[in-house]
């Protein structure tokens, strides 16, 4: 997937002018948010349930290496083959190599965010293996070559007319239709054939249970179950943090994931794989490969603050509750991960220099943090990233700030730590600020060069004659 994180502002402006985007953003996030609240109400104490899932994720991150070892041991004991990949390149190469060994010409994929991160689809395609996304939304997004609009519904905003054209061209659809259900059925027919003759599948992993060596996938469509049933070879990819201590922990996270993600109490299908099929079984993979990929996470893990990002369970509740996401949609975030969780993870993966807007385009309102079942403090993370920028910390490829901003804060802190300077400063600056004041209002400052973003469509009150400091004597 092409990285477009540096076009955040332009894409945001374009999306805000898009009537379709506006319509979906007016509809989806609030509906998801309401369904989430209603589904969480099945718990006797939803807040305690959220705190509990956060504490499970905290434990996962704190004990990450030990849990990964335990998972691997148990998975291998069940007959799974585990491959560790340092980065996307290694993981992609392994999968391609396996595909070639198996002599396949195509593969089908279950929805996997980490495979987007790896750029696996493009890699396979460029090397002669055709990868078919099978989750309906991912299938559409793949054909359109677009980043996801939303974590859960990546193509939910795409008009049926466009999908119709697409399916006629690329999915063997014979009769045109704009009915979403008929379009869905057309995709079913097209992809069913791919499942039927499949030799090797690729899936993601929602949870890897250390206690039993079991991988768990959560879905509504059935494509992942088919991917786990027809082919002789199954490859399932997980990033490090997908591990979960016990099966009971996994069940609680399952409830939290589904409620936070789509407002369902549970998805239509939850499948648990503990090794490949047994000898006397007629379907299922003879070989199950579990790819455990790092891709920068062991680096992220070194910092006690940034490792918090590894608590994310990819539920999407953060974006459904984010006022900025609800205004601009998924495209501006420019990569595989969107919304607040993308704002937390993408800068750590790609470097702060290329992702400035991601952690600055946030009002720190805290809605994301308040709903996160992983217990992530998104606003706190953004403030941390901003402070790393100021330091120019190269561990994060942080870009130092503009010298004007640094001088401003030097001046500001001089004035803010000495009350004489504060009082003097406020007095001196007032006449300049009020040059264009009219009728008690200021609509621009210094000929329109300062704070032009604000003054485009907002006024400020004219700066009063006396500050509160100066009025104090009069009030008493």
């Amino acid at each position: 997937m092409k990285i477009r994180t540096e076009q955040f502002k332009q894409v945001a402006i374009k999306e805000m002018a898009n009537a379709r985007t506006k319509m979906f953003l007016g509809l989806l996030p609030p509906v998801f948010a309401a369904m989430r609240a209603s589904a969480l109400a099945t718990f006797p104490d939803p807040a305690a349930a959220t705190a509990y899932s956060a504490s499970i994720r905290e434990e996962v991150v704190a004990s990450l290496p030990e849990l990964l070892e335990e998972f691997e041991k148990n998975a291998v004991a069940r007959g799974a083959k585990v491959f560790w990949a340092r980065d996307a390149r290694q993981a992609n190469e392994f999968i391609l190599d396996l595909a070639r060994k198996k002599g396949i010409t195509y593969t089908t994929k279950g929805k996997s965010m980490v495979s987007e991160e790896m750029g696996l689809n493009d890699y396979l395609k460029n090397n002669g293996i055709e990868p078919f996304e099978t989750d309906l939304g991912e299938f559409i997004a793949q054909q359109l070559n677009r980043p996801p609009f939303h974590l859960v519904g990546p193509a939910i905003n795409v008009p049926p007319e466009e999908i119709c054209e697409l399916f006629i061209e690329k999915a063997d659809m014979q009769e045109p239709t704009h009915d979403p259900v008929q379009l869905g059925y057309a995709a079913r027919r097209y992809l069913r054939d791919k499942f039927h003759n499949l030799d090797m599948s690729i899936t993601g992993i929602n949870m890897a249970v250390a206690e039993t060596g079991t991988i768990i996938n959560v879905e509504n469509e059935g494509n992942i179950r088919l991917n786990k049933s027809t082919p002789k070879t199954q490859v399932s990819i997980m990033s490090l943090e997908k591990v979960v201590p016990t099966m009971r922990d996994a069940m609680h996270l399952l409830r939290m994931l589904c409620r936070n993600c789509t407002g369902q109490k549970i998805s239509a299908y939850v499948s648990f794989d503990s090794g490949p099929k047994k000898a006397d079984e007629i379907d299922g993979p003879d070989e199950l490969y579990i790819v455990i990929i790092d891709n920068g996470r062991s680096r992220i893990y070194q910092d006690l603050k940034t490792r918090q990002s590894l608590r994310c369970i990819r539920c999407g509740a953060c974006m459904n509750n984010c006022p900025v996401y609800s205004t601009i949609g998924g495209y501006p975030y420019g990569w595989a991960y969107t919304g607040p969780m993308g704002q937390v993870l993408t800068p750590l993966m790609l470097g702060f220099d290329k992702t400035q807007d991601l952690y600055r385009a946030c009002t720190l309102c805290g809605s994301c943090k308040s709903v996160c079942p992983g217990g992530i403090d998104h606003p706190g993370m953004f403030l941390y990233y901003r402070s790393k920028d100021v330091e120019g910390d190269q561990k994060f490829k942080a870009k130092k700030r503009d010298w004007k901003e640094e001088r401003f804060f030097d001046l500001w802190s001089f004035g803010t730590t000495r009350s004489w300077a504060w009082k003097l400063g406020s007095k001196l600056v007032r006449p300049f600020l009020n040059i264009h004041a009219h009728h008690g209002i200021v609509s621009k400052i210094i000929g329109g060069y300062a704070f032009e973003g604000w003054f485009r469509n907002r006024d400020l009150p004219a700066f009063p004659e006396k500050t509160f400091h100066e009025r104090w004597k009069d009030i008493q």
Partner: protein
């Protein structure tokens, strides 16, 4: 008579000093003796938000030097109170003496409506307003400090008030400090949304507890709908008593 130390934040001091006047008058009216330390300046929030932690640290220490001995500190700005309570202890973690004082101060600093309702135990302060009033739940006040009931009780206790619910009352207004100026397109959409919800609430007045939100919503109204008013809760309550 209780003595409280007023923390009048920079936005109020320089841009909206009448909120300071109104806070003083309101507290006095409630039989509180409000002190004002003239050495106070700012809590340091702008520097924290911009990542200038070294600078913020100096400002935080100055703040603690000014307010550290006070029994009770009250402020008409929730985000500033939140900065002191939530950020200061971590900001000063390498200076144990200041960190300790920050931890202790955190337990003695209150947002204005929280102080009146939770500490003074008052809801009816003798205020009145003939008309429909609605309330915007500022982010740091609601999600940061957990304050929501208190301002609404103060508003509904005022004689003549008809309280109107505000759609998406808890949704951010788009201020976010530097965000409003650096991402004006997004910020404007957000404040426009807030204002549309205000208008469709049919309220005559929007009351809030946060000076930043007031500058933002008020600033947009001034340019686009100068007929619609917004008021800080200190001004709303003190106007009629």
């Amino acid at each position: 008579m209780k003595t409280v130390s007023m923390f009048i934040p920079c936005t109020v001091d320089i841009m909206l000093p009448q909120i300071g006047d109104d806070t003083y008058r309101l507290l006095k009216r409630l039989d509180v003796n409000p002190l004002y330390h003239e050495d106070q300046t700012c809590c340091g929030q702008p520097a924290i938000n911009a990542g200038y932690l070294k600078h913020a640290r100096e400002v935080a220490k100055h703040f603690i030097d000014v307010f550290g001995e006070d029994e009770v500190v009250v402020s008409p700005s929730g985000s500033c109170v939140w900065t002191v309570k939530h950020h200061y202890p971590e900001l000063l973690c390498d200076e144990p003496d200041y960190a300790q004082r920050a931890e202790e101060l955190a337990g003695r600093i209150y947002e204005l409506s929280q102080y009146i309702v939770d500490v003074l135990g008052l809801e009816d302060v003798g205020a009145s307003f003939q008309g429909k009033v609605t309330y915007h739940e500022s982010c740091h006040i609601l999600r940061g400090l957990g304050i929501s009931d208190q301002p609404k009780r103060l508003i509904t206790a005022a004689k003549g008030v008809e309280f109107m619910p505000l759609n998406n009352a808890d949704r951010c207004c788009g201020f976010g400090g530097e965000f409003a100026n650096n991402y004006p397109d997004i910020s404007e959409e957000m404040v426009k949304d807030k204002v549309n919800n205000y208008i469709s609430s049919k309220a005559d007045l929007l009351v809030l507890c946060e000076p930043g939100c007031m500058l933002n919503i008020g600033g947009y109204l001034s340019r686009n709908r100068p007929d619609k008013k917004v008021m800080h809760i200190a001004s709303f309550l003190s106007a009629s008593i």
